[in-house]
């Protein structure tokens, strides 16, 4: 599992960890029931606070991406298709919002956008 922490980005570290682990779960790099490093060991390996890693894991568990077995640790939750769909829908929404903004800045109409999409589709 690869995790990079960017101290200068302004994004809270727990958020960076959360996002990266989530991404790896969704992409399949982390498989169902794979064990995650313990909260403590992850913190020590990344040289950050235990509070931080715990928060990232708590967030992941809250969102349903991981589950905890008492005294054993954290594991990747089985792929919840609903969850994944949710996740993808969220991403699509975000992209759509970006498209809308860009279209507005160069004066593209709704129809022109749909035209572009159809063109892509037919390729």
């Amino acid at each position: 599992m690869t995790i990079f922490i960017d101290n200068k980005s302004g994004v809270p570290i727990y958020d960076q960890i959360y996002t990266q682990i989530k991404g790896q779960i969704i992409s399949g790099a982390l498989q169902e029931n794979d064990p995650l490093p313990s909260i403590r060991n992850l913190a020590k390996d990344l040289r950050i606070s235990v509070v931080t890693t715990k928060r990232a894991y708590d967030e992941l568990e809250h969102e349903g991406f991981v589950y905890t077995v008492p005294a054993k640790g954290c594991f990747v939750a089985p792929k919840n298709t609903e969850l994944l769909r949710e996740e993808h829908l969220k991403q699509i929404e975000a992209h759509l919002a970006e498209i809308r903004q860009l279209a507005a800045s160069c004066g593209l109409s709704r129809d022109e956008i749909i035209q572009m999409f159809d063109l892509l589709d037919s390729e």
Partner: protein
């Protein structure tokens, strides 16, 4: 159980007084005690260990330091700012003393650290450099299965390589969830990354004691103009620097409109600003 539980710690000297200070360190955590020279860091630690008399309740590893001092210290590794070993003794002789001092002395572990730190076994302590003395102090503190480490300025006077090594060792110490560390320093950068909790001491007062992450989330640096700064809520800005070219302020993120772009602040910057404004 909390590794350290201090309530109402107070010490009065002629020239200055410390406290009252309330400090709690949950087990398994690292707390950085930050403050300028003379802020009271050493005084707090000395009081914690019974080196000086003080008022208030002090419990280390669940035991009252005043009534059970010697037995608590079996489980505490102390690295004071000066390693007061008799100058004429060498590492081998020091080990003999420590073996008879600590019931859980681990000779193998000690030998390991000595080797790792590259310390000469037969040379007198007085020939050691400051870094070497500190390393020996740390080796001793880590070789009797201590559950709590208390370090007073362990990295001052040491070069960056050694400091990094020591930070790494302290980090590893807390891989065990029963191990805790209290470390005081005015070299904040050493502590920033690995600490779970941060306490700010300034002129004998505890300015704050919080989870480091919360602190870093709560505050940010804003680069803007003087006018914009003046337009912000009063309690939003906790410190500022205004120049010809603009203004820079440390602000409370929740008191500043969300559209404002705040940069992350370092613990050191936070401390300096808070101390100045105090």
């Amino acid at each position: 159980m909390n590794a350290i539980e201090i309530k109402g710690l107070k010490k009065v000297y002629d020239s200055y007084s410390l406290g009252p200070v309330d400090l709690t360190l949950p087990q398994g955590c690292i707390m950085g005690l930050i403050g300028e020279n003379g802020a009271g860091k050493s005084t707090s630690i000395k009081a914690m260990l019974g080196m000086i008399s003080s008022e208030g309740s002090i419990r280390l590893l669940g035991k009252d330091i005043r009534s059970e001092a010697a037995s608590v210290k079996q489980d505490i590794g102390v690295v004071p700012d000066e390693i007061g070993l008799p100058e004429m003794l060498n590492v081998k002789q020091v080990e003999k003393i420590m073996k008879d001092t600590f019931t859980n002395w681990d000779s193998a572990q000690f030998a390991d650290y000595i080797k790792r730190f590259d310390l000469p076994e037969k040379k007198a302590f007085k020939t050691f450099s400051k870094g070497m003395k500190m390393k020996l102090g740390i080796a001793i503190a880590l070789s009797h299965h201590a559950k709590l480490l208390i370090l007073d300025e362990p990295t001052s006077g040491l070069d960056p390589l050694v400091r990094d090594e020591i930070v790494g060792i302290l980090n590893d110490f807390t891989r065990d969830e029963n191990h805790s560390i209290l470390i005081s320093s005015h070299i904040v950068s050493d502590l920033e990354k690995i600490c779970d909790y941060i306490a700010f001491l300034h002129k004998g007062r505890l300015m704050l004691c919080e989870e480091k992450d919360r602190l870093l989330e709560q505050y940010g640096i804003l680069h803007t103009t003087k006018d914009v700064l003046e337009g912000l809520a009063e309690d939003a800005v906790i410190g500022k620097r205004i120049s010809e070219y603009g203004a820079e302020a440390i602000v409370r993120r929740d008191r500043v409109p969300a559209s404002f772009d705040t940069q992350p602040v370092t613990i050191e910057e936070l401390f300096v600003i808070m101390a100045k404004e105090a």
